[in-house]
Symmetry: C2
Subunit: 556 residues, 2 copies
């Protein structure tokens, strides 16, 4: 992974594309077009030809966008926006190892962005891929393959000579959300007899509830933290280690580490095996790195893990396509910008019609909102346009019985992205009233998209639907490991494309620091109270007074 | 539950209060005050006195609101808004049995709204409670007590004479979200050896995954549907009944029903026991009715169930208080209106710092968004002001490692409601670096509220925080059944108060009908395709053509 050359060729090239969003020609064009967006509620607006024609496809996933408020003129302007902003060109630079995680002229992380290298190795070698990062990813994957094979062969067992049946992943944020979403999505493909569990919250009840149901003697614990110092993860690791010791077990025979080289956790004496994560892969983009791979390899098996990576790689390749109608992640990014910046919608609902995707929206909340919830450009100037939307949602059809009332008839317009599959995972289904449950599920999904778009007139004002509420549908044949990998990569690329176009740094997270800092100061109070030494010093500044007041409120 | 007298005394009284929001004097006052809201980022803005003084309390819960952009003038205007809109007066009418679920002059549900009667029976008899509804609730609760006692005594057992260890609740929307949120919140109080499971989604993988881990012979199934005809619930019931029959078990020895009197499910031949739900209790307000009580009674035991009801009743009584500073649900409602209608915030994040509350936000999404996601007044006129916000959120500290970046530094302002507890549920905790995990949790919670409010200046623009991002903190000593009941009732009352002030009907859900209708038509296609009879008839209208196109897209 060559030198992070902040002033090298890649950096120059990326700076070329760092243009203010509102200075682009397409910005003005789209603003004009937004005065009269396509009327989905007009008679005949949703013709079969439109529904079938407004479709992009890659890596097994259809993106249906006939229910967006776009026509040929808008799509052309979005194509020009993609070109003017150099969205695809920047994506290629990213894969090649450009230092895109930076703010010009200010101290910043100055890092490459190479999560795509976790799966580049599964596809053809293209000009757009960083050779050093490929080699690094390959090395870790081979270490993992050896470890999994040793588990399989009975070469790694517990002190009693028994195989491991359970794995607890301890991590938070990117070390939890993406991996957990993937595991839950694909649990149907799990190795029989093996189970995976997760502890993330610093809430002590979280760890206690998970440990309660486990036979620790047969349990592996995978601790994931790049810095090796994440407060929640270290706290939970200690809590779980204590449980192992209390059970008379030696933790170093059970604990695995996924961490940065040289971190406090990079310590062979304390861990059965260590796997590495690298600075060029941000937490929220790390699900296909060792952060997710160790747990997925244990739970689903190595061949299924490779399928996930292959699907992700196939979508990464589709993201290199300059024609937006052939590039689903880019098209999804542009449709999002159309709704958010030009039609004025503040949020985006992501609504998977699959119970297995129960945590996928939570992962996307992080991936999207931590990446694009920013207020300054890559040159450190305050944004004069909106950056990332608020992402939320729950699986359908459950959501239909919950918050869809507001989506259909509320005073806010909520663009939606529906995700569905033509056939079920388990294959256990029942025909009731001539259709299967899976057919009911997918029929509901598409009916919602149509209902939101077309609306309904009615003599009773309470039964009127204004329509023109935009949505997209992502549709695949079945939720397989390959499809899941593709879906993950689709959203990763979507988020990155939007960041490029908004001219923000989608790869840092300075916004989480202030809360951390204040929590540390409040905790110092608690520690002080425990030692009965009372309150001291903090009141020297304004914030200190606030903390003082807060400590009083919290005291038992 | 007297006659639903659409033209009677109660109705007249409620009509008196049905005033347009923007016609109230307080609307103008608040609009003026919103030009210069309290500056939380100013030096000294968060004094200890303010932090400690801006606190309301009821039923064991503190509402801390020093980090809202309010001062005495705004609070006075909010008090006047409460009075002008008759918020508390309408709440009292509701409890007395007024027909508040209606739209004047148009066909509507014409129902009373009596969820408070589920717990009125646990408190003192006050003038504000409907005697007939109290008697009805009491009757069902006694039936449940008898049933639970018979299970306990071994009088009700399976065919092999063994006790039941597991219960599967089948329901969707209000028959799932509220009950599930309560059970997960209080699982720590569960009867040892008993477990509760939930099936809600029509996704066949949902049911299959749940059944996979169960010993059906020892399992009760609680089917919950008021109409006895909810598509998802009926489909899942059939699927689960089939599994029982395949296992050689007689379903009528295992299946319970919670349904409306006279519904297709009100059939003793098919169910071991039936419990009733009533038209005066809407699904999203039904968690403390039999909809939640049967499952909670089985899983947590009858005494814990009564504690939940007592906590809810205590909060219902607090909601009768006319002084907004002594009425937490009303104050929370008004602060929400201040942020939403006057400071222009479109969403509300609900962020519990407790893993046990993992599904509470999902319940509130339904309770709030289905109630208040409306576009017409109670007189059927289009709203000229915003109704309910978009509700979203995840438990902290997890959220801090996910989407808080946007909350702190994004271009959207996201008001937040934090929920926390001074001590943990399990009591299994560890002191690391001089503080416990629970202290870390609650310190993080308050630190977030302070950081959002005060912000931070910095020479690096990427490390600046604008501050003035408003939040409230709900703080209780411990998440007990009583506290959980109070918290549930607090939010139910908050939502109802907001609906009264916005002059909307918070008790119907016409907005979910169109999607259902279209899904039925699409399913007819599927059925047609199965019979190879092809497509017919639908193309006669515009929407038919859209459905035709959609069917093509969905075909395998």
């Amino acid at each position: 992974m060559g030198q992070p050359a902040g002033t090298g060729e890649h950096c120059e090239a990326s700076r070329y594309f760092s243009r203010d969003f509102n200075a682009m020609k397409a910005w003005g064009e789209l603003g004009e077009l937004a005065r009269a967006p396509y009327d989905l509620a007009a008679p005949g607006a949703l013709s079969p030809a439109r529904i079938r024609g407004y479709k992009a496809h890659a890596a097994g996933i259809d993106l249906l966008y006939s229910t967006q408020r776009v026509d040929e003129a808008v799509l052309s302007a979005l194509q020009r926006l993609a070109e003017e902003s150099g969205a695809v060109a920047q994506f290629l630079l990213m894969k090649k190892g450009a230092v895109l995680n930076r703010i010009d002229g200010y101290p910043s992380e100055e890092r490459q962005v190479l999560h795509t290298a976790c799966r580049d190795i599964l596809g053809p070698v293209t000009p757009a891929s960083d050779a050093a990062a490929r080699a690094q990813s390959k090395g870790e994957l081979e270490k993992l393959a050896d470890f999994l094979a040793a588990l399989e062969a009975g070469a790694i067992v517990n002190a009693a000579g028994e195989p491991f049946t359970d794995l607890v992943q301890i991590g938070i944020g990117g070390s939890d959300l993406g991996p957990r979403a993937l595991y839950l999505a694909l649990a149907a493909y799990g190795i029989p007899g093996r189970r995976v569990h997760f502890i993330s919250n610093v809430d002590p009840d979280d760890a206690a509830a998970t440990l309660a149901g486990l036979d620790l003697a047969k349990t592996l614990v995978n601790v994931v933290s790049k810095s090796g110092s994440t407060l929640e993860t270290m706290t939970n690791e200690e809590l779980v280690r204590k449980a192992f010791v209390e059970a008379g077990l030696e933790p170093s025979r059970h604990f695995l580490a996924v961490t940065g080289k040289g971190s406090p956790m990079d310590n062979p004496a304390r861990y059965l095996r260590s796997f590495y994560m690298f600075d060029s892969i941000g937490g929220r983009y790390s699900a296909t790195s060792m952060v997710g791979a160790v747990m997925l390899g244990f739970g689903l098996g190595y061949p299924h893990l490779l399928e996930i990576l292959k699907g992700a790689n196939a979508m990464d390749l589709a993201a290199e396509e300059p024609d937006i109608l052939r590039n689903p992640p880019l098209l999804l990014a542009l449709l999002g910008i159309w709704n958010h910046n030009f039609l004025g919608c503040e949020t985006l609902a992501i609504l998977p019609y699959s119970q297995a995707l129960v945590r996928f929206t939570a992962h996307l909340q992080q991936c999207d909102m931590e990446s694009n919830g920013k207020s300054v450009t890559r040159q450190g100037k305050p944004l004069a346009w909106k950056s990332g939307p608020i992402i939320w949602g729950e699986p359908g059809t459950n959501g239909q019985h919950a918050f869809y009332q507001l989506i259909h008839q509320g005073t806010a317009i909520v663009p939606a992205e529906f995700i569905g599959f033509r056939t079920s995972q388990h294959g256990r289904d029942l025909i009731i009233e001539q259709t299967t449950s899976q057919e009911k599920l997918v029929a509901n999904l598409l009916a919602q998209a149509l209902a939101l778009a077309t609306g309904q007139t009615h003599e009773n004002p309470n039964r009127r639907f204004a329509g023109n509420r935009p949505s997209s549908v992502l549709l695949a044949d079945r939720l397989t490991p390959y499809t899941m990998g593709a879906l993950l990569a689709l959203y990763e690329a979507k988020v990155v494309f939007q960041g490029f176009i908004w001219n923000i740094n989608s790869f840092d997270q300075e916004g989480v620091q202030l809360g951390k800092k204040l929590a540390t100061r409040l905790l110092a109070h608690y520690a002080g109270l425990r030692q009965d030494s009372g309150y001291s010093g903090e009141a020297a500044d304004e914030l200190g007074w606030a903390l003082f007041g807060a400590a009083g409120v919290l005291a038992k």
